[in-house]
């Protein structure tokens, strides 16, 4: 920020409209804007610095305090973190968060890519099908979760279906079963996000020229070889985007849990985001909640970095 006054003076020195054409020749001093004013960016920069960076930094500070949101607080070092990692429910929440994010990314990307490849060439109704598969993406995760809560209700259609095909012994209250509830959450997330991955892959596939595939086919490559050695390498950027965004969003899972199980049964489906909400805003343990949020933030940043490295080719922005 110390630099801004300098660029301010530079901006003021900018040529007036009359003199501009004469001075047009490219070599503009660094940071000069030929059009617009530098301070146009100021409200946006301040808002982002305040709402993202300053608040996150303050939140990070709270993570090392015992603040309850009212009155005085004390710096308590790593006590919050020690407490988190000695509480089985919180460790479970970390595990659930990682499980849901990673598993849903794998499922949605495999399914989304499969559908995209299947729809890509030749289908007459591919745009209608694309619209249908994408539909759940635009809906509120909360609203969608209520439909699934009904489907997996004890008296719901899924158990009805199991009874119909003679699997009575498999019937159970799915969302009230500590073993199974997390899997149902996974089904709901995967169902809703598959269309998103599909659309990213369809856009990626559309840019792959059909000639390359044809050439490979002429060279005797079979369907699988064409996919693995020709198509997949050419859509690497799409893979990077779809997996990164899926992972980042998966790690923040909140709405679906609140609607489907509320974190239960007995904390079996808590995630970091639901725990942050409950500790900070329902119980008023701001310091403790901030510590949980800090863990979530670190996990997301670590995954974002790993993801960038793995998928290679940093797309230069």
């Amino acid at each position: 920020m110390t630099q801004t006054p300098t660029s301010a003076t530079r901006a003021v020195v900018l040529p007036e409209p009359t003199g501009r054409r004469a001075r047009r020749p490219r070599k503009r001093p660094q940071g000069m804007l030929a059009f617009g004013h530098w301070w146009w960016a100021l409200p946006g920069i301040l808002l982002v610095l305040g709402i993202h960076y300053a608040s996150t930094a303050v939140g990070g500070f709270f993570a090392f305090t015992d603040w309850t949101g009212l009155g005085a607080f004390q710096l308590i070092g790593l006590d919050n973190f020690v407490e988190i990692f000695s509480d089985p429910t919180k460790i479970g929440a970390v595990g659930n968060t990682l499980f849901l994010a990673i598993a849903s990314v794998i499922i949605t990307n495999v399914a989304g890519l499969g559908i995209a490849v299947g729809l890509n060439r030749g289908l007459k109704s591919r745009y209608v099908l694309r619209t249908l598969f994408f539909m759940p993406v635009v809906l509120s995760p909360l609203a969608v979760s209520y439909i699934w809560k009904f489907i997996f209700d004890y008296n719901g259609p899924f158990n009805g279906f199991l009874g119909m095909i003679g699997l009575e012994e498999a019937i159970r209250p799915w969302l009230a079963d500590p073993e199974w509830a997390i899997w149902i959450v996974l089904v709901v997330i995967s169902w809703q996000n598959t269309g998103f991955a599909m659309v990213i892959y369809m856009a990626g596939l559309a840019a792959v020229p059909v000639e390359i595939e044809e050439a490979a086919a002429i060279d005797g490559a079979n369907l699988w070889q064409r996919f693995w050695h020709v198509t997949l390498p050419s859509i690497r950027p799409a893979v990077a985007i779809a997996t990164t965004l899926g992972l980042v969003n998966g790690l923040r899972i909140f709405d679906q849990i609140m609607a489907l199980t509320g974190g239960g049964p007995a904390g079996a489906t808590e995630t970091l985001a639901t725990e942050v909400y409950k500790e900070s805003f329902a119980l008023g343990n701001f310091g403790y909640g901030a510590a949980l949020a800090l863990i979530l933030t670190l996990i997301i940043l670590v995954f974002a970095v790993i993801q960038q490295r793995l998928t290679g080719e940093r797309r230069e922005a």
């Binding site: 109704s125 509120s140 995760p141 609203a143 439909i147």
Partner: protein
């Protein structure tokens, strides 16, 4: 070689079957919402209602107080529209300066925005909530517009900057020769050329704001200005398992966004596919 063969036709049929199974939840949703209290318990979920009964919708829409679905809908519309306005104005101005300036600082800022896209909001929410509570902005529609504006601004700036980089300076130069001021050049010439970017920002950010539950639950929960998801959450919580009523609420909440989606589905899909690719 990629001709329409019998195999392609088979693939087409297969995908339609898959799509029908995929969308089966919507069938249950619609059928159940039209059933009477008694029929919900006596008939199978797959069976259609014996008669079309819109009573659930009437009942759900006439609830008042914290369960006022129409009021929640209204708040959601205002907050979403306001946030989009903030994002388009600030996002385009900031994105323009970032994209056009060659200064080292603009590159630094650009990366700062890029990181902010990934940075989760949970950690910042705690201090923001306390700040908003001190300023009396919790439960306020204006507070939410500022909050969402700030939260999604990095995404808007990123999208605009990408589009501005692809736009040559010829238009600005021509307008400057014609004697337009800088403000005029931007708002009358550059911004109108950016309407694809504006559309992408409006759709992506609008959808995120419209569907957001976490932030609005914290800042608006229990207030008089709850958004639709928050109203839905509390209302459904009070309905235990009256699925016909729950589904009437769910359908009401889905209609605006579904109508918009089916009307502009191409823009939506392009927005997601193209916009996020940067």
């Amino acid at each position: 070689m990629f001709r329409y063969t019998k195999l392609t036709a088979l693939r087409e049929v297969g995908f339609w079957a898959l799509a029908l199974v995929f969308l089966l939840p919507f069938y249950f949703l619609l059928m159940t919402s039209l059933k009477s209290d008694q029929e919900v318990f006596t008939t199978s979920a797959a069976a259609p209602p014996s008669s079309l009964d819109f009573g659930n919708f009437v009942e759900v829409l006439s609830a008042r107080g914290n369960s006022n679905v129409l009021w929640g809908l209204f708040n959601s519309v205002i907050i979403t529209a306001g946030s989009i306005a903030v994002l388009v104005l600030l996002g385009s101005l900031t994105g323009y300066v970032i994209a056009r300036s060659t200064s080292r600082w603009s590159t630094t800022m650009y990366y700062l925005f890029l990181v902010a896209i990934v940075l989760p909001t949970q950690l910042g929410t705690v201090p923001l909530y306390i700040g908003a509570r001190t300023l009396g902005l919790t439960g306020s529609v204006w507070g939410m517009i500022i909050l969402y504006g700030g939260m999604l601004l990095p995404l808007a700036i990123f999208l605009y900057a990408g589009f501005f980089r692809g736009l040559g300076t010829e238009y600005e130069e021509a307008a400057a020769i014609d004697g337009a001021s800088r403000t005029q050049i931007f708002f009358r010439v550059v911004l109108p050329l950016m309407s694809p970017a504006t559309g992408t920002v409006a759709i992506l950010a609008g959808l995120i704001v419209w569907n957001d539950f976490f932030t609005s639950l914290i800042f608006l929960g229990g207030s008089d200005n709850q958004t639709l998801p928050v109203t839905m959450y509390y209302y459904i919580g009070s309905l235990v398992s009256s699925w016909n009523k729950i589904f009437a609420i769910v359908i009401v909440s889905m209609i605006p966004i579904l109508a918009f989606y089916l009307f502009a589905q191409k823009k939506f899909i392009q927005g997601f596919a193209g916009g996020l690719k940067g």
